[in-house]
Symmetry: C2
Subunit: 294 residues, 2 copies
């Protein structure tokens, strides 16, 4: 019987150990910069993207070890997006995961630069890995740069900021989260599958899975903001409604949002039928994404 | 007889054409993001880094075309550093090259994200190039990530900001500019030389050249700030002294700074003796770096 909480705990430890080994310490000059980078990375995330990356390698019968460095690259890249999103000129958030955000703790200039440095470090690590044939050696860099760039995560963030004042159509809502959230989760799946030697068909299947649970994850976030407690989430509940944010709940209501998330998860799980390695973790994670309470 | 101004004009055109071809246009959603990226890139820089990259490939008897995509990647990466350095929480500059800085023109959030997107795009392009054997395929990404990251350009920027309030020793001044300016110029030379198939010995020589003219470039900047005119430079003259910045002029005085720059340039030119391809451009650029009036 597969036990998700044990699995997540074990993978999280593996990922955090690898992050600790690879991230420069405060001993490296400039100490304050490396302290801010570590503070941002070790503030207690779920490590969803790197875990998915490892699980994808496993599902195609590849070796998890081959996906470990790309996996932690994805996590530091994800961390940079959070650090920059929290800045005063963006979402202006003072608290994340129950702790002061990086710019509150270290000042705005250091937070911007720590984010820049984490983004750069992600590519340094990705550049050190070579994707197996028939993929190009630079395939990891390509996948992640495309997902994270001006036609990916950053496109989503720009449209998210614009939605605060501009039009709030369902079409824009989908654009935002396909780019801001789903693109990087999809890339995590693809990079892991490539590291594991996936076929083209399997790569398509992990893309569907990643895209679907990316959107489902965001719907669940919107639902939690509406129905969760501040204590459990480590950030103020109900802030989306207060800030009149464009969310799945504001667009479709609670009930329809929930159904939409469930359908996406069902489709994600159906896409796993192609794999010959263990898929229990990916199945369980897909369910967890919409059942979690924080 | 080698004519530097003709050479620079021709290379600048080649680089700007390539940038124009490769940068997404405003037609690509989100239009405002791509407009901000293009505004930042096409605000009239000297294109020193990409020109050095091409000249380095040429000097080792390689083909300039092989260095073109890495060269423009270095330019968009350099542009990102300028966009972020100009932000209110950093140097808080409203004007660069005679034009409003990106955050003045597009707002702070868009400027931060345009910078992030340019950095990501640089790695997307570098990841598309494969360094020739015996270099690793991912060598370009590695060289540039190391030069631009938390132990490179960003380390220099953090120490530069800290120098506004902290200690102002010559040791810190050197640390700042070896990292903030010289690291990326050195990387531009190395990447061009690698693209051209340089030997290990030649790679060492271009590193010396790049490092030396990087520092000489910064000394010249400090001298220009002290002695130049606002009109010629497109930014307020005398601002370093006004802001009590740590500069070569504040550390060593005008005369000693000038001598130091000349020695560095002489050493840079001496390092060129190893090359079999044309070195006239690199010689002339080394001299130009300290003789320019803007």
């Amino acid at each position: 019987m597969f036990e998700l909480s044990t699995y997540l705990k074990e993978k999280r430890r593996m990922i955090e150990n690898a992050l600790d080994r690879h991230l420069p310490t405060e001993e490296t000059r400039p100490g304050v910069l490396h302290a801010a980078m570590r503070y941002s990375v070790f503030s207690g995330g779920k490590r969803l993207r790197p875990i998915l990356c490892l699980a994808a390698a496993d599902a195609v019968k590849g070796r998890e070890e081959d996906a470990l460095l790309p996996a932690i690259a994805l996590e530091v890249l994800h961390t940079y997006t959070l650090v920059h999103d929290d800045l005063p000129s963006m979402d202006d958030d003072a608290v994340r995961r129950g702790q002061p955000t990086t710019h509150i703790q270290f000042g705005e200039a250091t937070a911007i630069l720590a984010g820049d440095a984490l983004l750069t470090l992600a590519f340094e690590w990705l550049g050190q890995c070579r994707a197996p044939a028939p993929y190009l050696p630079g395939q990891y860099v390509h996948e992640v740069a495309e997902a994270a760039g001006s036609r990916g995560v950053i496109a989503g963030q720009i449209e998210d900021l614009a939605a605060e004042t501009g039009d709030t159509t369902p079409e824009r809502l989908d654009f935002i989260h396909l780019h801001k959230t789903a693109a990087l989760i999809r890339a995590a799946m693809r990079v892991g599958a490539i590291a594991g030697g996936a076929s083209a068909e399997q790569l398509d299947a992990v893309s569907v899975y990643g895209c679907n649970i990316g959107i489902a994850f965001q719907i669940a976030d919107d639902l939690l903001d509406e129905t969760g407690t501040t204590e459990r989430m480590g950030k103020p509940a109900g802030s989306d409604r207060k800030n009149k944010k464009l969310t799945y709940v504001s667009c479709y209501g609670l009930e329809q949002s929930r159904k939409r998330a469930e359908t996406l998860v069902d489709e994600a799980i159906a896409a796993l039928s192609l794999f010959k390695g263990p898929t229990a973790p990916l199945e369980a994670i897909a369910r967890y994404v919409i059942d979690r309470d924080h």
